[in-house]
């Protein structure tokens, strides 16, 4: 079925392609279990695109202003097609709401998704070495060291957000193409159990929270991977952490662990109002810091306070950045 979906994406792109267009999608790499973003700059590259269980990278981040400027070809004059899993589509919605990319420019293609595998989880299960992965029904057949074979349920390698299911909702937006069967998709996600227990719990006292934050964030090496992949982090060269234009360091890096916490606190506060919970930060973090657990916590607070969930539509204003006339200002 996945092969069929991939085919359908290709034929859709072929049919809507006009000269001067560009598309962002995925393609294969030589690394087992890794797919890489792929920019289609002319029509005859369409057939190299791939969609399967390993397309983990969210392409929404390439729509942020900074990235977009660097990738658009000089002769670009048409539409930017972007292939998205439903969760990634929500990040695109948020970029629309935040007016970071114009709806005129982007053509959103949402794909029926059956859960995406996290290559690093699979690698851990295989203790660091995988030479080949075959997909059979709901299992991966992986070749390990010395030709040993292991059969791993795909669900065990899912990205956290896939088993959680809270991110799978389709956005309220009528401007997208859907590839696959929408009814079937809605049925699948309504059956997801939403049972994952969160690391950061609502009942935690500030003290407990602080302890958890200190424990988890102290290993951060400040590589900025979490910031750079985040589609909700779009200040690019005007970011507080480094201001290339003026080259001022607002946050110094001495005594790493102490300042790391400040770094993340700033990011939590900046991103909480538009974090869709895509989990890219956590996936990108080379130190495996469970970042999205913290963002989810803020998401929940946001929901309790304002009944607001980022990425739901293309036009809802961020709740921490807007107010209604007559609203009580604290």
């Amino acid at each position: 079925m996945k092969k069929q979906i991939e085919k359908n994406i290709k034929s859709l792109l072929h049919s809507i392609w006009k000269s001067g267009d560009m598309a962002i999608s995925w393609t294969k790499t030589s690394i087992p279990g890794k797919r890489t973003p792929f920019f289609i700059k002319n029509k005859n590259q369409i057939d190299q695109l791939v969609f399967d269980t390993f397309c983990a990278v969210s392409l929404a981040t390439y729509l942020t202003e900074f990235n977009r400027k660097e990738i658009l070809p000089e002769d670009f004059k048409g539409k930017l097609h972007i292939t998205c899993k439903p969760c990634d589509a929500r990040s695109v919605m948020q970029l629309f709401s935040d007016m970071q990319v114009s709806e005129e420019l982007v053509n959103l293609i949402v794909i029926q998704c059956d859960g995406i595998a996290d290559e690093s989880k699979l690698t851990k299960i295989m203790s660091g070495y995988v030479s080949n992965i075959e997909e059979e029904n709901d299992r991966f057949i992986c070749k390990g060291i010395g030709g040993t074979e292991k059969s791993v349920p795909i669900r065990d390698c899912w990205l956290d957000k896939c088993s959680d299911g809270k991110n799978c909702d389709l956005p309220y937006y009528y401007g997208y193409y859907f590839v696959g069967n929408e009814t079937e998709y809605r049925k699948r996600i309504s059956n997801l159990l939403h049972t994952k227990t969160d690391l950061v719990q609502d009942t935690m006292s500030p003290k407990e929270l602080k302890k958890l934050v200190n424990k988890e964030l102290s290993s951060c090496i400040r590589c900025n991977a979490c910031r750079n992949v985040c589609p909700a982090c779009f200040c690019s060269d005007r970011c507080v952490f480094e201001q290339p234009k003026v080259n001022v360091k607002y946050l110094d890096s001495e005594d790493a662990s102490k300042n790391n916490i400040l770094y993340h606190m700033i990011r939590f506060n900046h991103v909480a109002p538009n974090c869709t919970g895509c989990g890219e930060c956590e996936r990108a973090c080379p130190m495996s810091i469970p970042l999205s657990m913290f963002y989810k916590y803020f998401n929940r607070l946001m929901w309790e306070e304002f009944e607001y969930k980022p990425g739901k539509t293309n036009s809802e204003r961020q709740k921490l950045l807007s107010y209604h006339l007559g609203e009580d200002l604290v």
């Binding site: 790499t29 030589s30 690394i31 087992p32 890794k34 797919r35 890489t36 973003p37 792929f38 920019f39 990278v57 981040t61 390439y62 990235n67 660097e70 990738i71 690698t123 851990k124 203790s127 660091g128 070495y129 995988v130 030479s131 060291i145 010395g146 090496i221 400040r222 590589c223 900025n224 991977a225 910031r227 750079n228 992949v229 060269d237 480094e242 290339p244 234009k245 080259n247 360091k249 110094d252 890096s253 001495e254 005594d255 790493a256 890219e280 996936r283 990108a284 080379p286 130190m287 495996s288």
Partner: protein, 346 residues
């Protein structure tokens, strides 16, 4: 000097070593990843695939103060050098990471000597471990290295089933063995064979092979080719690849105050993937695009250090590929370079 260390004796060795040094070894973290951490004894893991993180951070720290200053009420300023002088023993270092430390040593002891790093190396005993299992992204053999290389180690160990075959390499290493000789046993005639066995099985398992040594001095010819754009387009300039690379040596320096009359001059890891890395005070940036920055990383590893130090500054550990959030593979880039070089030669 050749010895045997029975596996059940490992913990008593570590306990003994801990008496006058910090012992650092690979352990499984609660995130199910292998990392080099200070150990007690039992938790050490000397098997399985190579650690996701290299022991670089114990030689070249993520951030460290270069000197501290205090200003007294009288206005007198005192400056204090802040490098610690503690002994450390790092064990379980794979040959690739040994090569990296060896490279770092040479790099920091060139024309300008980095006394902090050299002192730390001086105070460290490095115990290597022949590599029995590569990781998915390993390509050390492509660079002419081998999973049983001993360069850079003071002592080399190899897993021989029920015991470790131990070899004292430097004087420092031999002295350590000598000081603990009741824990070791004499080695047998053909113990050394374990090295060639490990070499053979590990090399067989390595997935990626491309002869990079044949590209020595030729990588530069791909400078103006169009291969870079393909990767720089998707690169998000995060720098995870450089921060996790055992041979990346760049740092930034800055000053900070800790209180009204105390502060320090410190350095932190920095990365060429960052826009601000090459930004001049005038506002001009010689590497302003992502393409130039990605090319810099690759050229530095495979051409510039060949020019300057006659060696690659990549050990083939594959970590950059493993951590890249968008799946950029160093081996794929090298294959593209090879194609450009080969086509240029015809």
């Amino acid at each position: 000097m050749r010895k045997r260390l029975q596996k059940q004796k490992l913990s008593s060795l570590i306990k003994k070593l801990k008496e006058d040094a910090t012992v650092i070894a690979p352990v499984m973290t609660d995130k199910n990843e292998v990392d080099f951490l200070p150990v007690n004894s039992e938790e050490v893991i000397l098997s399985g695939a190579r650690s996701l993180y290299s022991p670089k951070k114990y030689i070249f720290k993520q951030s460290e103060s270069m000197y501290d200053y205090t200003i007294q009420d009288s206005g007198k300023v005192t400056v204090k050098e802040s490098c610690e002088n503690e002994k450390q023993i790092i064990m379980g270092i794979r040959p690739c990471d040994l090569h990296a430390i060896e490279y770092m040593k040479e790099f920091y002891s060139g024309k300008y000597k980095d006394s902090y790093i050299l002192r730390r190396l001086e105070n460290s005993v490095l115990i290597g471990l022949a590599c029995t299992e590569p990781s998915t992204n390993c390509f050390c053999t492509s660079l002419g290295n081998s999973p049983v290389d001993t360069d850079g180690s003071d002592i080399m160990m190899a897993d021989a089933g029920s015991f470790y075959f131990v070899k004292g390499i430097t004087e420092k290493g031999k002295k350590l063995i000598e000081n603990n000789k009741d824990i070791f046993e004499d080695s047998q005639e053909d113990d050394e064979r374990v090295l060639s066995d490990i070499k053979e099985s590990c090399e067989k398992a390595i997935l990626e092979k491309i002869d990079v040594t044949a590209l020595k001095n030729k990588v530069g010819s791909a400078y103006n080719s169009d291969i870079w754009k393909k990767y720089s387009d998707i690169c998000v300039n995060c720098g995870a690849c450089t921060f996790n690379c055992p041979t990346c040596t760049c740092f930034d320096v800055a000053d900070t105050s800790r209180s009204k009359n105390e502060g320090c001059h410190y350095r932190t890891w920095d990365t060429c993937q960052n826009f601000a890395f090459t930004l001049h005070a005038s506002g001009h940036n010689p590497r302003s695009t992502s393409e130039e920055r990605l090319r810099q990383r690759v050229m530095h590893k495979y051409q510039y250090t060949v020019d300057q130090m006659d060696q690659f500054s990549c050990t083939g550990c594959g970590r950059c590929t493993q951590v890249c959030p968008v799946g950029i593979s160093m081996i794929a880039i090298l294959k593209d370079i090879k194609e450009v070089v080969d086509n240029g030669e015809e």
